[in-house]
């Protein structure tokens, strides 16, 4: 019978993978979401319809189904990736759909006069986007992005399906050996809570660091 401390020690092997998986998927989400937002701005009506279709699809199909599709589908077309990468790709795809919506909402909430003011000074559309809109878009979407990050963290255990040794995978293996399900999963839950608290604290600090006087109030 392993003690709680031993369970914790065994499970924490998976913490690193969970963390890596979550952070990288979220990063893919931020980059992909930004790309989606940009594409939305520059494209025409057909382009926008396609983007919307993509977003709806990715948002409605369960992450698990996506992961299965990638696991079985990719090798068939000759693409063999390590399971970790496959999962990051899938979770990142889902995250970029959600984060793209957050970023786009933030971008649309910036009053249009600022864009016109930039143009009237002689800036190009790209310059206005880069120097005026984007810095504000990031700040305005920070709370929403942090929220999406937690969603990514919570879907990271799907990786166990692909065989990535993250927290849940370790917990399952340990339960199979010890049949002490409750303590094992309780500790797994606490580990997720710890990751959440640490990351959230980090983001909050960053957010405060870049806070501007009166910026969010209107």
């Amino acid at each position: 019978m392993p003690t709680y401390l031993e369970i914790l020690k065994l499970l924490s092997v998976g913490v690193w993978n969970t963390l890596l998986l979550t952070l990288l998927s979220a990063a893919v989400g931020v980059i992909g979401g930004t790309a989606l937002t940009l594409a939305h701005v520059v494209t025409g009506r057909t382009g926008r319809a396609i983007l919307r279709g993509f977003v709806y699809t990715v948002q409605s199909v369960p992450s698990l189904v996506l992961i299965f599709m990638a696991m079985f589908g990719l090798p068939q077309i000759g693409v063999c990736l390590p399971p970790m990468i496959t999962v990051i790709g899938c979770l990142g795809l889902v995250a970029s759909a959600y984060m793209g919506e957050v970023l786009r909402g933030a971008l649309n909430s910036i009053d249009d006069t600022q864009r016109e003011a930039g143009l009237s000074l002689g800036m190009s559309q790209g310059r206005v986007f880069w120097s005026v809109l984007m810095p504000q878009m990031w700040r305005l979407s920070a709370p929403g992005l942090i929220n999406e990050f937690t969603a990514v963290l919570k879907s990271s255990p799907f990786a166990y399906i692909a065989g990535v040794p993250e927290i849940l995978k370790e917990a399952q293996a340990l339960t199979a050996v010890t049949s002490r399900g409750l303590p094992v999963y309780t500790i797994a839950a606490l580990l997720f809570l710890a990751i959440y608290l640490v990351c959230n604290g980090l983001f909050e600090t960053l957010y405060r660091r870049f806070h501007l006087p009166g910026f969010e109030e209107g």
Binding site: T113, S120, M123, Q136
Partner: protein, 246 residues
Amino acid sequence: MPLLEVKNLRLGYGDKVVLNDISFTLYRGEVKVVMGPSGCGKTSLLRCLNLLVKPTGGQIFLNGQEITAPNTHERAVRRQIGFVFQQFGLFRHLDALHNVMLAPVKLLKLSRKEAQERARHELSRVDMLEHAEKYPAQLSGGQQQRIAIARALAMDPKLILFDEPTSALDPELSREISIIINRLFLDDVSMLCVTHDAHFAKYVCDKIIFLDQGNILAEQQPEQLYAQQEDERIRRFFRMAREGGS
């Protein structure tokens, strides 16, 4: 040669005529005000002048050069024409100083030090130097508008367009703006200003262009225009402006 010459300018969307055959000139150092009832095309006129909107007909010349020509470099034209918006349009993530510095650094490629000096100079012209470190959200509407004026000035434009610069401000703050505009007038800045504030117009300009339903009804000095009796629409407009107690 006039600084700005507008010839038979037209603007329409489908069947709707917004501007119908507008012609006027503005000489260097001159200040003209465009007045008229809401929806008369005042703002559209300004937006045509700095090419935010493409006119459907006519020509605009800046310093004798046609800016409505098809091969015009829009951004180069806009750099020479300042624009001050009704809603200020300050960049909310930048403090006053950096609002003024941004375009000179990015577009005129000034060094940060040069741009900062220039920004400080322009801020002092609008009495805002002491607020240089403040963000838009920390400033009153009048202060924000003065920074927006400094931001336009920092590009050293040949002409500044004002789109109802005082209509989002209470009378006292709007007086601040007219004082600044007058000061710029003494500095020989050429300006074209859209407003429906008759007091403000009288205080700042040489001549008023009166616009109604896309046409110029009159171009006169403020006193003459306010007192004139011939045109019913103009008379009604100024009677209502007086009764409105502005």
